[in-house]
Amino acid sequence: MSDNLAKASRHVSFLRGRERWKSAEIAFWLTLVGVYFVFPSSLVFASQILITGLFALSLDMILGYAGIVTLGHAAFFGIGAYTAGLMAAHGWHDPFLGLLVAGVTAGIAGYLCSFLLSKGGDLTRLMITLGIGLLLYEVVNSATKYTGGVDGLQGVEIGKLFGVFGFDLYGKTAYIYVLIISFLLFVFTRSMMNSPYGLALRSIRENQTRALAIGIPISACLTNIYSIAAVIAGIAGALLTQTTQFVGIDVLSFQRSADLLLILIIGGTATMYGGFVGAVVFLLAQNWLSNLNPQYWQFFLGILLIVMTLYLRGGILGGFSRLVNLFRHWRNKEHS
């Protein structure tokens, strides 16, 4: 075994090093566990941040890794949220069943939409996804009888987890539930992005012409990743429904899609953690600044966006990794 390791050539260990779990990653997840104990009174908010992070992760799969731009990703979040809500309101109270059906439903929707996106450039994709989002919002808005329209879906009753752990007012159960589901889906996504399939996706993002010329079936790959991302977005939506026991029509709003894009870009695309980091920064800042004065938030967001685009390409995580590199460089100099 150690013989094998010693023999592993430099280039193999190079790739292996990139794919290994870093200590910062482990620290990240342990911190999320720590939140449960340190901020017991903020767990409802913390769950929402996590859900948004998971939702942003699903956007990262298609935007960051596969390079598909979208302004309508909330469609799948909303489909998941309403599916879970309608199930719970009509007698299917089991949370896991809700997640499963919500994910599958959103995935089917994603699969169907993906055919509209497999051809065409960025602008076409922006318009089509925007159109799908608006369309769905209006459909749900008009179907008042089933969805409650703008008043939201009432009567969502979620059963106990495994029939044992009920959802409490402080959001304790909810936080653990969201954390575990998020982590599992993160591990799923992470291994997919580090696989040959993930490499092929990144190469499509980098250059479609060349990807085609080495034999990658581009449309099939994009259809596929779009559906998977929709599944995860749908599960995130279902988590929101289940932990708040309510579905508001804003789950489908354009604002949600646009905010999500900002969150991912602020956090950093194609980094796996950009979505989570972006969600923490975005939602905390939003919460804090809107409490001071509602106008501050828009103002601050405007400045942040401009500064980010001009000076911090790659978002917070991109900037952070550059800092780390600078530090390493500097330390190497000191040593020699």
Binding site: S9, S191, S195, I216
Partner: protein, 252 residues
């Protein structure tokens, strides 16, 4: 006919502009075939039709005895038809090692089950990575294979173009001006590699530098205004008065 690659009455028009006019090209197995012609003759457009990037207006393309005119571009690669681009068409933010590993993984994908392809790390496929490294070494890219492609010198990027095409293990290799933009004298490295490729790979080469063409090719086709002017051995081409006219402009 046992041609490995063939076009039959290939015709392509962009609106009123005819860029491929009844081209009947035929590549024998193991060929070192050069395609030459003035700028805008339609050489790249022809390659694009062979590889499936462009649909011909009429006529057909045959690979190893099978018609491939309507087969998608990626499927043609799997069947052994591979190309390089006149203008660098690479993955800027991937390292050459990742890029070539990617191409090999795509080629070998049917040998892996979906679970391994989707969820096992790339680094677990050390045989593939070793193969990628060996190929990069063959193309003098071993030193540069762990940095992002966009940081490579232009000449190195030209070599990577070749590496990516070779990684698909082609039966037929289409090279669209592999030395384009490389300063004169520095293309030796590239052509040295070309000359070491085994005869199992049949090659169609587009190139403007006549010295390189005559050193490399055993057969030459001259394309002018989308039309095949003449095909023959290098000495036949040198002797041909029509070719001289096109190249030296000896009108009337």
């Amino acid at each position: 006919m046992n041609a490995i690659l063939q076009t039959r009455d290939l015709w392509k028009a962009f609106g009123g502009l005819i860029v491929t006019k009844n081209v009947n090209l035929s590549l024998a197995p193991g060929a070192r075939h050069a395609l030459i012609g003035p700028n805008g003759a339609g050489k790249t457009t022809l390659i694009n039709q062979l590889t499936g990037v462009l649909r011909p207006s009429s006529g057909s393309v045959w690979l190893d005895g099978e018609e491939i005119t309507r087969i998608p571009a990626n499927e043609r690669v799997c069947r052994g038809l591979s190309r390089t681009f006149q203008i660098n068409t690479l993955f800027p933010q991937l390292t050459p090692l990742e890029a070539v590993t990617n191409a090999i993984c795509v080629r070998e994908r049917t040998r892996l089950n979906i679970l391994k392809r989707r969820f096992f790390r790339v680094s677990r496929r050390s045989a593939v990575i070793d193969e990628a490294y060996a190929l990069l070494e063959q193309l003098n890219l071993a030193q540069d294979c762990l940095v992002e492609t966009h940081t490579l010198a232009y000449g190195k990027q030209r070599l990577l173009e070749m590496a990516l095409a070779l990684a698909t293990k082609p039966k037929v290799l289409l090279l669209d001006e592999p030395a384009a933009g490389v300063p004169e004298g520095e293309s030796d490295e590239l052509f040295e590699v070309l000359n070491t490729l085994p005869k199992e790979i049949s090659i169609l080469l587009i190139e403007h530098d006549m010295n390189l063409v005559f050193n490399f090719a055993d057969r030459i086709t001259v394309l002018v205004n989308g039309e095949e002017l003449v095909t023959g051995t290098p000495s036949e081409i040198v002797e041909d008065p029509r070719v001289r006219e096109v190249y030296l402009g000896k009108g009337h």
